[in-house]
Symmetry: C2
């Protein structure tokens, strides 16, 4: 049920015909009443039209819903893109019976294509008519592009419910301005916008900043968090017990969605989890973790189940981070494969090979340098990634 698990939301997904495949490509999430909303959006200097529109409308602090299409990114289209984002959200607003500024927009698919705004407007009656409290999975399915599975997560936190879904299998290394990754979180907790924004920044941003599929930050990445308040009771405030409990569980759900996206990466066969500890700062830890997770030589070695400690040494050494190379140790699974830049002559090759043969491959770097730590969540680089991206315009 994902985003419709919390009370106060309805959703649907239909086929508008934007995708040549005929798979579902238009989705709508609606809040029964004005919901508090917070968003994290790409820091690309070429944001897509729906990103710009959503950014403006987020300033209101509340929303009645979000219209999402897959199959076309509505990016790289200038004024035509803006007009189409306005037209399609206006059609959704009219269908739902709310003001047009109360509907946000997200798009994912080909950049610089010919956006099918007319197809979206034509499909609107069916989309609105099918909105139900059990429609979360239809929504989560219709937002997918090359994703091979629907990515959902949900939890109960005391009297509150949280629902979430995501899509993203390539052009993924979110840098939320604070990411074409699209992520939607809903909760029925009663919460004002400032408390919700702090929740997005505290619980969601760091989770998605862990993720890199191919090092390519999209024009369309968007994370939206909506709170309907339908659970009732006292309003949740930043830092109170309910807020902290929601933050903790939202981070777990966000971690789960980030992992699900890496696991469903285009052509991916394995997930790479890189933990860097005792770095100068969290930012430095993240930069080293990302340097490993984005290294073509590390990604191909993992695809080939080759332990290859030398490529880990290469990636850390070239990471441009500040650390003391004489104090740095690197593990592949439980095997110490580099101590101060030296690959131990007698390292356990069998255990290292076993570690890199698993679906989840763990690399751990201890810099012995400072208080910062971070994880990167990546994937391997396979023939199929090349095939998918060489043969199709995405």
């Amino acid at each position: 049920m994902s985003v419709t698990f919390p009370k106060g939301f309805r959703a649907n997904g239909v086929t508008a015909g934007l995708k040549p495949s005929g798979r579902p490509d238009l989705a709508l999430l609606v809040a029964d009443n004005a919901a508090s909303v917070s968003g994290l959006l790409t820091d690309s200097l070429y944001p897509a039209a729906p990103v710009t529109l959503t950014l403006e409308r987020l300033a209101r602090g509340t929303t009645r819903g979000v219209l999402v299409n897959s199959g076309d990114a509505n990016a790289g289209r200038g004024e035509a893109g803006v007009l189409d984002a306005l037209t399609t959200t206006a059609a959704a607003a009219a269908g739902v019976g709310v003001d047009h500024e109360e509907i946000l927009a997200c798009s994912t698919g080909v950049i610089g294509g010919g956006f099918g705004a007319d197809k979206i407007v034509e499909a609107m009656p069916a989309l609105v008519h099918g909105l139900t409290e059990g429609g979360g999975t239809r929504f989560a399915n219709a937002i997918c592009t090359t994703d091979t599975v629907v990515k959902e997560a949900s939890a109960e936190v005391g009297r509150f419910r949280i629902g979430a879904c995501a899509k993203g299998a390539a052009m993924v290394e979110p840098r939320l301005n604070l990411a074409t990754m699209l992520v939607f979180f809903t909760t029925d907790a009663p919460m004002d916008t400032p408390a919700l924004r702090m929740l997005a920044k505290t619980a969601l941003q760091p989770a998605f900043h862990q993720l890199t599929i191919d090092g390519c930050t999209s024009t369309n990445d968007t994370v939206l968090l909506l709170a309907s308040g339908a659970a009732g009771g006292e309003r949740v405030r930043t830092g109170d017990d309910d807020w902290s409990d929601l933050a903790k569980v939202m981070r777990e759900l966000a971690d789960s969605l980030a992992y699900q996206m890496a696991a469903d990466a285009e052509g991916g066969t394995k997930v790479l989890l890189v933990d860097v500890v005792r770095a100068k700062s969290e930012a430095e830890a993240r930069s080293i973790a990302k340097a490993i997770a984005n290294s073509l030589l590390v990604k191909t070695a993992i695809f080939g189940s080759d332990p290859n400690p030398g490529r880990l040494v290469q990636a850390v050494g070239a990471s441009k981070a500040e650390f003391d190379p004489t104090r740095t140790r690197i593990w592949l699974g439980d095997v110490l494969v580099s101590d101060a830049g030296v690959v131990p002559a007698d390292y356990n090759r069998e255990a290292a090979h076993a570690a890199v043969t698993e679906h989840d491959v763990y690399v751990r770097v201890d810099l012995g340098f400072g208080p910062g730590s971070a994880r990167a969540i990546g994937c391997d680089l396979s023939y199929d990634y090349v095939k998918i991206n060489a043969e199709y315009t995405t």
Copy 2:
């Protein structure tokens, strides 16, 4: 003849048995007399043992030669690596009859392997015995790893000669701290070390900083420039006419070697040439050019001969450089594919497809922002790059 084209140099290459393939893997370049020398070495925080040794010995300002092995990087080995670099250069020095500190060292191959210093010492008599004034190509051949062709360049500048050779097909994005790219330049111009260092910095560093095969800066990258003075006559000084002529031609030869390495990239089928003009600075121009050349989505699109302007917009937008997105234009070949982030609806798809089908694919970005310009020289990402790096430990 490459490095033995200038007077005053002899070279050779033999098979010492470091490579399982039995191909040549040990090379020696010798100057008949003390040659002025300047080096550009990797900025990796885990430099290989021969890099550390060469850096120390470059402080002397002159050298009698350089011993190079392929098949093992002598990196990630700590004290054992240092000892082996000392032992093997001492053996070469003894064979040539010079002081052991007069011989520099370079290695390329597997990182963290078991270095065959004994095999190198055993092969030394044959290596030294075969040193000849026509041995440059044997030298250039023996330094190769996954390279499929020998990379050489040479020129005459007035009364002087310049010779050069290079190897490098992966783990290549040199950041010379003044980069497993190895490059050797020789000249017979008479020149003191300061003038030679300025030549390396002015003519060679910017040329190799253009290059990226896979975004992976090596532990072993080295560029060495040796001047024998054997042409005789007045010493060339920084900035004089002879120096400027040498600088201009060396830059052309270095550009040629960088192009040759990109063209021989592991699995590469095409060369990608990205020119960024009117950026805030040269550094900003280079960062945008590299962002495009290193993008997996751009590299796979070029492999598939897919114009895909959207991926160029994505890469520029996410480049983290400072520019005005409303003034930026992007060309693929001669076709304007993005104007201010907008892909023109009527752009010439046929011409763009033709441009991306060529062996040399040109991308040009005009930021209209400042005085900085830079080129990146890259390549496509093919099934074979994945195969080579997934199946073999390198």
